[in-house]
């Protein structure tokens, strides 16, 4: 503090210097944000669906895009119902697993990226449901209140038929674990899986 009273040198600075400084910082910041957002968007677009490839959706859009020999209205409707029931199945499944995914995330068993993916998937399915409402109206005005219970019924029927279909596969899998030659007198031990006891929820 006890500096000699030197004649203070005053360096003249243009008025534009601070403005230029702020401008440079702002532009750098904006460019960074733009690049970051673009990358994030790219990532989200490249995100693979959590579900295996669905045939129904593809079939419907392919049929709907056909112009020259326009597909029969009933065929288009059938494809639409199939697509709709798939979306409903996925929505139900996502809702069902939502608390479990949250638990997995809290537990540290999955990372944040996957958790966010899951939330995105829910959003995607919701938007698909919403767009489906519009499509229903385009088929026939006032069909919506009838169509959705129908779709639900299809979904549940499908679920039952899937379970019935997989019975044989399940039996074969089970036989593969326990030796097929079993039944020669020895009792099975309890360390093998208790397979039959599974009640799968709908």
């Amino acid at each position: 503090m006890e500096e000699e009273p030197e004649t203070p040198k005053i360096q003249k600075i243009s008025v534009y210097t601070p403005i230029a400084y702020v401008a440079i910082i702002l532009t750098v910041f904006i460019v960074f944000v733009k690049i970051y957002q673009k990358q994030q968007l790219k990532k989200k677009l490249a995100r693979e669906s959590l579900f295996d490839h669905s045939f129904g959706k593809d079939a419907y859009y392919k049929l709907a895009s056909l112009d020259d020999p326009k597909p029969h209205d009933k065929l288009l409707k059938a494809a639409f119902l199939r697509k709709g029931s798939e979306i409903i199945r996925k929505t139900i499944k996502l809702k069902e697993y939502e608390p479990l995914i949250l638990k997995l995330y809290v537990n540290g068993s999955i990372n944040e990226e996957f958790y966010n993916n899951y939330k995105d998937e829910i959003r995607v399915q919701e938007s698909e449901l919403n767009s489906m409402v519009n499509e229903v109206e385009s088929f026939k005005k006032g069909w919506t209140p009838k169509c959705f219970p129908l779709l639900q019924e299809i979904t549940f029927n499908e679920a039952i038929s899937k379970r019935i279909d997989s019975m044989d596969a399940r039996r074969n899998d089970f036989l593969e674990i326990v030796n097929p030659t079993i039944g020669n007198g020895e009792s099975t031990n309890n360390d093998n899986q208790a397979k039959g006891k599974k009640n799968k929820k709908k």
């Binding site: 537990n107 990372n111 379970r163 399940r170 899998d173 030796n179 899986q193 009640n199």
Partner: protein, 695 residues
């Protein structure tokens, strides 16, 4: 702002200290940790050696694992963590050298700096007198010294310039000291600031060596620029992406993602079989990283199966890859068990445990139920597959020639050591008692956090005689509740000895065995709680001879607790329930499955009923109730506004009477209050003593 207050460390006075403390901060902890790990390793290996001395005696009769050579080469390549010569120790050594160098440097510096100019100014010391000296003594001393050191009086002809300077400095010091002791102003300065000249200006130094700031700090600037601009962000992002890419359970986050996706897309009613899980596992990200995407999942799967079938291929790289894959599987399986526990899929967890056991013992999963025999040393797979025997107990009850045929062992010595091994190595669990407990309660109340206590008896397959739990002494079946157990109910399980490493000759690396306990709901067969693992259980009972076991078990079955012959130890599992007990009283059915992580045939499976009861209602139930607020108090006014009851204040009722009786009445009330509190404490003490006296 005067920047002149900040000076760089031009004389290299402080930066070595700074560097020294920084280096010590890093090097000392790392050195201690590596020394500790070496000591620990040596101790544990000694213990293992002692423990295994007996085992080695048996094992010498075992045939070598079919993949012995490959295991050896694998271990030497990947599993040999050299405790003494590794990167960490090299780093430590370098750090220690650096510290020594810095200490030497500091010493060197200290020796070369003038000690008279620095340090605390003590006039008594300079004058060489006692601090209690009178003014007269000071004066005479000063005169003597000033005569001796006066620059004009000293003969300078033989002295160098340095020495002359030194003498001059001494003379100044002596003068200062004298002044300090005689002049009032200087004396005050000395007392206040520790210096005769008054306040010394404080200088703040930056502990950086001079060479860094030479050339106008250009070097420093570049260094800072690189450090802040590139090195630190790079290290942080690298560390963070590493943290992010692995989950808490140690599996790659993409693998975890894959498992969850598979569960989401899993067709209902498909069997969550070991086969399905192995196909999931072979797609794990870990293997893609391990082999740089060069090994297809189907190839990985076939390698896993060929390991389990103990078939050997002529291709050496195949064998090495096989061991690499297998050594990674337990981590992945633990991740699967973790995820399966949370989605409550019993099948998934049980199948994962089955794979874990099969990996440990290198026995096939598919098309067989004879893993109990296949896991034994010296056996021939083909003859076991042909036989009708499935369990260890059955095998031991057979005559010797039958055993030979069943196991396919022709050599007598080999058979004996195999049988001996069975009786000493495989712990069979017998359930004694399982009950739910809530710390500090005699019953299981609703909405309480409880745990399941399981008492088991460990016995070898060779031991005959089962415990009769009806007659068993109850002191062995019940946990005694102490203050300690109330604080940490799981302490007693952890104080049991640790489980030994499992016999897994085919597995690359050692397998530390443990128990995995599952708690299932009987109503839907799903997991009620995540799987819990236990590493502590006493296996001492396996060492008992057949007669010892028999006499002990007979004594216990006759409720003869104090028998000196009793050498049996009862083991305990305590499964914590993460969820509170159900809110309604009633019976709730559970199924418990306890798995050994490595051996087949050592598991436990039994039902348990949780009886939820309301705790006994004490006589004065309202002891914890909140009293109605006083009329006068703020709470009372609020309550009145809400239309609730309030207590009439004592003053109000007796407002007419004089102050004396007022005091009396309040005293009376106080007395009543005291009696209330007295009964309270009795009531509180009751539930604590009750359960203890009961048991």
């Amino acid at each position: 702002m005067s920047s002149s207050q900040y000076t760089y460390d031009e004389n290299s006075e402080t930066w070595p200290y700074f560097a020294l403390s920084l280096a010590a901060l890093v090097v000392i902890p790392t050195t201690i940790s590596s020394i500790r790990s070496i000591v620990k390793h040596n101790q544990s290996s000694k213990r293992e050696l002692q423990k295994n001395a007996k085992k080695l005696d048996q094992i010498k009769n075992f045939s070598k694992p079919y993949n012995y050579d490959h295991l050896q080469s694998f271990n030497s390549k990947f599993n040999s963590k050299n405790l003494y010569f590794n990167l960490k120790n090299l780093f430590n050594l370098f750090g220690i050298f650096l510290i020594f160098f810095l200490i030497r440097y500091i010493n060197f510096k200290l020796a070369n700096t003038d000690s008279t100019t620095s340090g605390i100014f003590d006039p008594f010391e300079i004058l060489g007198i006692d601090s209690k000296s009178t003014e007269k003594q000071i004066k005479s001393h000063y005169r003597k010294l000033s005569l001796k050191f006066h620059p004009d009086k000293v003969d300078k002809s033989n002295l160098s310039q340095d020495e002359i300077n030194k003498i001059e400095q001494t003379f100044i010091n002596i003068n200062n000291a004298y002044k300090a002791l005689t002049d009032d102003v200087i004396k005050e300065n000395l007392e206040k600031y520790g210096n005769p000249d008054g306040i010394i200006s404080v200088s703040r130094g930056i502990a950086l060596p001079k060479f860094l700031i030479e050339s106008q700090g250009f070097l420093l600037l570049i260094f800072y620029f690189l450090l802040i601009g590139f090195i630190i962000p790079f290290l942080v992002t690298k560390w963070w992406s590493n943290v992010k890419s692995y989950t808490k359970k140690g599996i790659h986050s993409k693998t975890a993602e894959l498992f969850v996706k598979k569960i989401l897309n899993y067709e209902p009613l498909t069997l969550m079989s070991p086969k399905l899980l192995i196909s999931w596992l072979s797609n794990a990200e870990e293997f893609k990283i391990m082999f740089n995407n060069r090994l297809a999942p189907s190839k990985i799967q076939s390698l896993i199966y060929s390991y389990l079938d103990r078939s050997i291929s002529t291709d050496k790289t195949d064998e090495l890859n096989k061991l690499k894959i297998v050594s990674k599987l337990p981590t992945l399986l633990n991740g699967l068990i973790d995820i399966g526990s949370i989605v409550r899929s019993t099948d998934m967890v049980v199948s994962s445990i089955t794979i874990l056991k099969s990996i440990s013992q290198a026995v096939p999963i598919l098309n067989t139920q004879k893993q109990q025999l296949l896991q034994l040393p010296n056996v021939n797979f083909e003859s076991v597959k042909l036989s009708n025997v499935h369990t260890l107990g059955k095998l031991l009850s057979l005559p010797k020639d039958q055993q030979k045929i069943t196991l396919g062992i022709s050599d007598d010595a080999k058979l004996d050591s195999t049988i001996e091994f069975i009786s000493k190595e495989y712990p069979i669990l017998k359930l004694l008692k399982a009950y739910f407990a809530v710390p500090g309660e005699s019953v299981v109340p609703p909405n309480a956090s409880s745990h399941l206590i399981i008492k088991v008896l460990v016995k070898s397959p060779a031991h005959h005689g089962n415990p009769n739990t009806q007659n068993f002494p109850s002191s062995l079946l019940h946990e005694v509740e102490t203050m300690d157990s109330l604080r940490d109910p799981y302490k007693s399980t952890k104080s049991q000895p640790e489980l030994p490493t499992a016999h897994s000759p085919f597995f690359p690396g050692t397998r530390k065995s443990n128990y995995i306990a599952l708690l299932l709901l009987q109503k839907d067969g799903k997991l009620a709680d995540p799987a819990s693992t236990y590493e502590n259980l006493s296996l001492q009972n396996l060492e008992l001879s057949l007669d010892e076991y028999k006499s002990s078990i007979n004594a216990l079955n006759d409720n003869n607790d104090l028998d000196k012959n009793n050498k049996l130890i009862v083991g305990t599992f305590k499964i914590p329930l993460t969820q509170p007990t159900p809110p309604k009283p009633g019976n709730y059915q559970f199924r418990i499955r306890i798995f050994h992580s490595d051996y087949f045939g050592c598991d436990l499976d039994f039902p348990v009923i949780m009886t939820v009861e309301e705790p006994k209602i004490e006589e004065q139930t309202d002891q914890y109730e909140i009293e109605d607020p006083d009329e006068d108090s703020l709470a009372g006014v609020m309550a009145q506004l809400r239309g609730e009851k309030v207590k009439k204040s004592a003053n109000d009722s007796d407002s007419d009477s004089d102050s004396d009786s007022d005091l009396d009445s309040s005293l009376e009330e106080e007395e009543e209050d005291w009696s209330d509190i007295n009964t309270d404490t009795e009531d509180e003490a009751e539930p604590e003593t009750k359960p203890v006296s009961k048991k």
